[in-house]
Symmetry: D4
């Protein structure tokens, strides 16, 4: 590997992404062999940079966890994190909410990513609209966040309901939880895109990572505005 360019045998590692977009490179694990994944993580360690890996399989996680030190591996979400040093902290809080317990893997991907990039993630799980009192009991707390990430499968109504109740931006993540006419997440995706409540935008099905990056960009943008 050429350290300057990040040019690797099978990948163009983008060590300078942080300069350009404000956030470091991350690794999407599916389709990579265990050995490739280990090589990539070591490449980051070699240049003294942190790296976040998402959607790792159990096999990938075991392989790299056994061979590389100082990794945080989360089996629920498939997130692997390596932190090169103390993370710089962002000033905001992100409320990560789920409709049901089955949405938690995606929510944890979001929460761990938020934390990796330096913001605080507060978890509010299993507060979906089938028992809406569960949401209301947490509402004051959720309202105090700077960004809300709403993770929900099935009918995906959580985002709409929250979005009508808070004044901060809501990033909605449809999940593939469900069966039949969920069509692998199409139902909550369309539901969230058509929300009658405004102030919400949507990322890909099961893309907790993407929601977290959006949330962190929001907080970073906020920080900049505040500094002006």
């Amino acid at each position: 590997m050429d350290e300057k360019t990040g040019r690797y045998e099978f990948a163009n590692l983008d060590f300078r992404r942080e300069q350009r977009t404000g956030m470091g490179e991350t690794v999407y694990c599916p389709g990579k062999t265990c050995a490739q994944l280990a090589d990539i993580i070591r490449a980051f360690q070699d240049v003294g940079k942190s790296v976040l890996c998402t959607k790792a399989t159990a096999e990938q996680m075991t392989y790299v966890g056994d061979r590389i030190q100082c990794l945080e591996c989360d089996p629920v979400s498939g997130v692997i994190r390596y932190s090169a040093g103390a993370r710089s902290r962002l000033p905001g809080r992100v409320a990560v909410c789920t409709g049901g317990t089955a949405d938690i893997p995606v929510a944890e991907e979001a929460a761990l990513t938020v934390d990796f990039f330096g913001a605080a993630a507060d978890r509010y799980y299993d507060i979906g609209v089938a028992g809406i009192h569960r949401l209301f009991s947490k509402l004051e707390s959720i309202r105090s966040a700077d960004v809300v990430i709403a993770v929900a499968g099935m009918e995906g109504a959580l985002g709409s309901v929250i979005s009508g109740l808070v004044s901060v931006p809501v990033v909605a993540v449809p999940t593939s939880v469900g069966y039949g006419a969920s069509f692998s997440g199409l139902a909550p995706l369309l539901s969230m895109l058509n929300s009658c409540a405004e102030g919400m935008a949507v990322v890909n099905i099961d893309n907790g990572f993407g929601a977290a990056v959006m949330a962190c960009r929001i907080i970073r943008s906020a920080k900049r505005i505040g500094e002006v």
Copy 2:
């Protein structure tokens, strides 16, 4: 027309449907000429039977309204009703709810049908989840109904939210209200089918009539159980 068989030049009128399914014949207006529609309505009048016509166009409504007496024509919903005599009343109440004002035509189709078949329809319009306080302010009243019809377009979350808050059966009607990724009502349809709240079943997009017949069958069934 042969009065005994209901056999008409262009249609097999089913005068005995009431005996078989407990509810009289109804007429779906699209695709019929104004003259055909008028002939059909007159055929029912001739045999002394009530008839309900749905989804009439403005042109159809004007045509038959000008030529036939004693019709109730509702331009909002496209419902035309002819009542041959005093309607027998069913013992239950149906709460007809909508998410937004644009869902009202479909909801009125439901409410007028419920009324036609003898049950009471209470209207709760524009109480969608974008401002969920509007729903809560009506909740006690809605809970006192025997069946709820939830009419909503866009993300269609109204049904799920209500279904988690009441103990009576909920009939959900997705509407084609919305644009873009609503895909003409596909979004609320899928959303309602995937509801995380149980106790709800769904009819076709914009099918207020079908929801009302389902609701009336529920009440009729209830009446029978009560009589046993």
Copy 3:
């Protein structure tokens, strides 16, 4: 676990759902580990409440069946039931019908749920329209039910045919039985939503449980009307 709130490590158990919606909490098994499922069932046993679990895998069923006493496990439907005491009975009967033999797992999910919530379930299996004499030979009996649940895959015509022949509400369940242009149940789903026969509403593909809860709500609503 906090017994009062039902707040568990990984789930918000809703012990008070019965008060709110009239029916107890149920558990959707997919995505839960065997150990989580066992913990949840024990939590209900600990507070002396019944619980119904749906769509359990063979592995889940074996695991909890080996470790927890007094469970009824049905391998055909994937339903696990724990009854804390004698069930209060509802006054109505539900006719559970299927088009073919391959629809039976979904139908059994419906029938066992109906039974769990206290109503009587009568089974009429393999009476689909390919040999419609099989339906007619059972028709009188089906007509005597208070609600019909029609479970069918492939073209899903069973619901329409029954709905035109009975006067009680019909809850239709499309199944993913079939192949090719069934598109995992889309064909019977669309077919049932577009039924030319009224008095029917539809639940999600393979959702026998949802149909049963709808049926029981109908009977409960009926009971209330009868009592007034």
Copy 4:
């Protein structure tokens, strides 16, 4: 136009199709100007050949009807026929059935095409499964046909039900009649393709013409077998 090749300014007329496939050329009207349509019909008249035109608009029908003699124009189906001489008759009968009255235009396209190619078309309209007694009252008569064409929109169950009751081949035509989740005929199309009753094959949505050609090929094939 070059009469030998049928080569026209804007079309390759296929005067010899009859020799090749046993049936004469037909004209699909949409997208053609009134003048082009008239020219094409005249070209057939000039060479003394019959021609069948389908899906003509009211405007096309008036234009050519006013200018060309001896045309049979049917406004219900949009079929225009010119018969150069006495049609040779095929030995079979085709039962053309519809679920509702709104399916009649497509059914008439089929029936007029069957007649044009020399077979007998018997019409059984408005006998759909919402009132299945209507079908049974005609069943003996339908069973005596050599081919059945089943035309139905909405849930399209007619084909399945008939196919399970007769022993002759059934050609099913889904129609775009309906709204909402019919998705312009997708619902009955999928329903018919997934029929649990065998002995049925399907043509394009609203393609009464195609069903009729299939039916006539069946009868012609039959005739040939009989002659052997």
Copy 5:
């Protein structure tokens, strides 16, 4: 099992289907346990009737083949046949054609079914339009058949091309052969439904059995016409 009614523990066997539709009962294997399948086949043997089973898995085939005598098991197509006696022969020939070699399993399902019901099946495999000379070299022979079954995946053009070249009815079977934008057979299904060549009708994706029954009904119908 009750031999008169065919009522079995888990299925309503329809021993009298032959009387009604002219063809005996058949068994769709997916979703049945090996033991259930064996019981069903034995039930037919016990009453001295032939039976055809389709889409059997390798496991099902081995299980019943090991336990029941006189079965013909075809591993390519998944067809199992039991013939109770000499089959009555139908007077026609069916040309079974495929576009590629990967379509052969579906074609064999069709050919073996045609043979089971008494007609002759001629096979023309791997003659798709990528090398259309292969089709032309067989054309005279194909033209001599009474019905053509065209089996093709990918773009499914085989049916259209044949249909424009022969005068007999063509039954088209789209297959799930292909990848990507084939969408599991949607591409050839739509292609065949939209064929510019008339005289063709379509059955479900991979439904060789259904095409064969349609073909046999055509020949039976032909026989009847010929006998009149």
Copy 6:
């Protein structure tokens, strides 16, 4: 109309939404009659509140423009604005970008909404990836914004490209501009949801308004963080 509750004959106006979500009520014009729209706008004027109306037709715009004073009507976007007083200003800037000129109506809906809620909107139109030098020539300027709204139809690549080049949050708006396999905006919608560049979230097709509200919530959230 009841001024306190905002309860109107045909709508529940939500005068207190501003308190709850930080932004005032807005009106979605489609489906409302001209008279209804005028009444709603006057209701806001009567209580001294600003109001924003979106997707007004030319007819609606002319009607209310002729009858109500002090309205800003923009025919390009269909936006009608009434400002009750000087708008409070938000501290951020929003860069509104389009791929082509045909996307401008949606972009103007976004820009006028951003302005209505108090932030500054900078327009960068017709800078799509077909000629990517146009984007690069504006890049420095776009990078200085606090939020980017990327509006694009056809393949919708603009969002991905910008998102990889800036560090602020990007709100992507797919448009229905295009034809054929655009499927009314499905193509850019899916493209934007699957972006390989992170830091972007998506709103409904043609929903410039929703993107603007999201952008303003981001800035408001930023302001709050800055104030802490």
Copy 7:
């Protein structure tokens, strides 16, 4: 307008595209007002450059044709061409083929574009697979082209058949010609993408223009290779 940058009030005209991609700017007419279109065309005339406009409506064509001299307007295809001088010629020939007469507008868009960019376009119309002898009678001639453009709606088989018969690259254009399960061109689009014949690539539905640009790039690339 700023002539150097091509920056216009409502559009960034790209006068230098020719340098970059070898072909001049073109204008997509839908969504532009008549006046805007006229202004754009005049802008090109003012700087002495040729311009091609596609998919103009009849109204746009009349408007600009009446006001601007030296335009070639083709009402069949909606193409408007202005040639600033003698076109430089490319050395190749493009065979533009259609399946039916209804595909001609799209084919003419292709042929006129090919001609505009300097290559020769030979037309072979109405040679679809329903009568495949029409294709074979032209085959020698088509084989002599350097690129083939195959334009077809309905089942779109033309491309596959040609692609298996020639050795030059084939650019396939699905058209929206057809109805029902054509789903506005989805059927031929999928068909062409899944072609069993290789050496073909596909452009958007109805995109004759895009196919022509692809063809001209092929010829230009060829020219360059030949010159080396």
Copy 8:
């Protein structure tokens, strides 16, 4: 096997395809048994012809690699090549580009096919639009190719961006890389078909082979033009 006709037990090998279309026969491996595949490859060796096999599984590759000499087996792409002699070279270069590393298997299928048919393949991998500087750093080199193959999953923007920057034909290959709303490659497929940049045509999802054949036909066509 009959060597003259290439007629094999289970396949019509097309040894003369090279004469007809200029390129030799190739083998699509899915659905073939290991033994069938080996037989086919040996058949080509026996007649002294080269053969290319695509999408082989690991199992197929091991099987034939162990039994047949002189094969080149590439596990990344699933390509197996047998070269009967020195390949004739084509005069052009093909730039094979990918958006990400996960697209490499499809790109290698393309590159190895290009090489097999005699053209030169230059690889530019992992240069997608998330970090567009990576593309620009290679742009001069890419521009010097005669054809570009752009392989990309997710949003598929790579093709559009390249197409706007080069003057040679671009063949775009969408891949099934991605998840959620990628819908197995539908997202990049639609994106590429709707590209706002012209001069690009698209092949099936994951069809690297098809793109390569298109590219080689382009170069062969070029060679011919150059020779004239």
